[in-house]
Amino acid sequence: MPRSPLFRALLQVLGLVSLAVWARAEVCVDDDVDRRVCLEQPARRIVALSPGATELLYDAGAGDRLVGAVSFSDYPSEAKALPRVGSYKRLDLEAILALKPDLVVAWVSGNPATQVERLETLGLNVYRGEPLRFAEVADTLERLAVLAGTEPAGRAAAARFRDGITELRDRFAGADPVTVFYEVWEEPLMTVNGEHLISEAIRTCGGVNVFADLPGLAPRIGTEAVIAADPEAIVAGGMGENNPAWLTPWKRFRALTAVQRENLFFVPPSTLQRPTPQMLEGTRLLCDHLERARARR
């Protein structure tokens, strides 16, 4: 392919630019809304605007760089001591500015977009995250690690997560499908559709979400719809980490396959309902439960 002198000159300029970038130790990643986030140097003061982001930052090895978090950021337990900057849906912009962060990790669907934009116009660097797939959870760990300058830790955490999920996927790839109803909330009764991460966890374990085709990530359904679907297993979170009370009401429907075979399973909500590496543990628990369901055929 013939190369014009202009093209060659362009290449040289690009080379010089990237050299200059390298010299200033600038770090750049693309976030989940495809905006490029660049920092002149790895972040040393990070504010996380969702409990999930806080958890991801700790997992990416950047926990000691966190200087602020929103309410309900409770995992790992060190996160409870972080200064608070409001709740994820009502941010305290003054508190965020006062912390002088060099990176803010926002949550696309959770934080008010106007408040996040305001932070940007005030000169802060904002990473917008919304991991919707297991692969994106791992990617987010790596990207946050790049921004925080903790790549080894981030890469290791991402690899652990990817390997764990791959292992589960391989193990259950040929397993007999188990139809599953996942109860995300009791009153009103809510489940997840096929786009939700929890549905990916179900698929990973060789399960089939009976409500995968409904519109909306967390559709509201009726009790009778569950009975009509007659899933082989019913899996529920609950109000607390150790409270399977949501399963009890199903027991009165003795005609349900899941009830006859006692396939009513509890998975602690924090291990399945936050898009973080904890989902590996939740998915493992779920896979164990579905294996039990297969054994009870």
Binding site: S87, K89, V184, E187, P188, P219, I221, G222, I227, F253
Partner: protein, 325 residues
């Protein structure tokens, strides 16, 4: 209408509508059950799954819907007479706000769902006592004063509700918002509502004559020998108890309590002896029908019942209003 007295006829028609609404509610759902199978269940046999569906899901829900609608219809009719204000509804005096604070507070504290109706009931009663006490004031008790006190207390509860929603973690919000919209899926047992509705509906019939006079003004009522103050207090306490029970059964279901009594007045005239029992039947029928549609129109997705009550009620009401003189 010469010959036939319109009163029993209207009530009989409304009762029939109510029975049809309950029957429809039993017949439709996500699991198709045909006529013969339905009949088998109610004659003591039938498929065990169908039995379970009908007897522990559809029937309690239909009965709860009917009772809640009846309670709200009656409470609304009573409030409109008491306050002599056509805009009055069961919630105008802040009762639903008190109930919402009770229910949402319980949800925020992570109380099990069994406790939510109780918390709502306590909140509603607290609000009633508060409004009644404050409306006494220094200058004594008047409907206007009661209305203003109630409206301002309601605004206060509204602020507390917003505050509670702000404090709540993300995963609890949908449950709270659906509670605020009102929903029959929260109904656990229909019996408390019926235990209140039946005696209340019987009690208001003898009050009807006094209320007819009261509706024309307290001075006239007093001159005609009606004990205005005791009657007003009875009506207030009764309407509050009815509303508290409705709200703790199904959350703040709107619209029924405001519009049902007006529709009946437009269609049947303003005789409380007829309007009060008719409000029970029409409120019950409307809410049962609306709830049935709400849970089946987009099944398995569930619509908030308020959407359907408004969808059915707004055109009917506007038509009646347009045709009235």
């Amino acid at each position: 209408m010469p010959g036939v007295s319109p009163r029993p006829l209207a009530l009989a028609l409304l009762a029939l509508a109510g029975a049809l609404a309950v029957a429809l509610s039993l017949a439709v759902g996500s699991v198709p059950i045909h006529g013969a199978e339905l009949w088998a269940v109610f004659t003591g046999g039938g498929d065990p799954l169908h039995r379970e569906l009908l007897l522990s899901l559809r029937l309690p829900r239909a009965l709860a819907a009917f009772a809640t609608g009846g309670l709200l219809g009656l409470a609304g009719a009573l409030m409109q007479v008491l306050l002599r204000n056509p805009l009055a509804d069961p919630y105008v005096l802040g009762l639903s706000g008190g109930a919402a604070v009770g229910a949402l507070g319980a949800m925020l504290l992570g109380a099990a769902a069994v406790w939510v109706p109780g918390a709502a009931f306590v909140g509603a009663l607290l609000s009633t006592v508060l409004v009644f006490g404050l409306a006494q004031g220094v200058g004594g008790w008047t409907p206007t004063r009661l209305l203003l006190t109630g409206v301002v207390v309601a605004a206060g509860w509204g602020a507390v509700v917003t505050f509670l929603l702000t404090l709540s973690p993300a995963e609890r919000l949908p449950g709270m918002l659906y509670w605020l919209m009102g929903d029959l899926s929260y109904a656990r047992s229909p019996w408390p509502a019926w235990l209140l509705l039946v005696p209340a509906a019987l009690l208001v019939v003898p009050l009807g004559r006094g209320l007819n006079v009261l509706a024309r003004g307290p001075l006239l009522a007093a001159s005609l020998g009606v004990a205005v103050r005791p009657l007003e207090i009875t009506v207030y306490v009764l309407a509050s108890a009815l509303t508290a029970m409705a709200v703790s059964t199904a959350g703040s279901v709107g619209f029924v309590g405001l519009v049902v009594p007006h529709m009946l007045r437009l269609a049947l005239g303003n005789d409380q002896r007829l309007i009060l029992p008719a409000s029970v039947l029409a409120g019950g029928a409307l809410l049962t029908l609306a709830d049935t549609l709400a849970r089946t129109l987009l099944a398995p997705q569930q619509l908030p019942v308020g959407v359907i009550t408004a969808l059915l009620g707004v055109p009917t009401f506007l038509l009646l209003l347009y045709r009235s003189r």
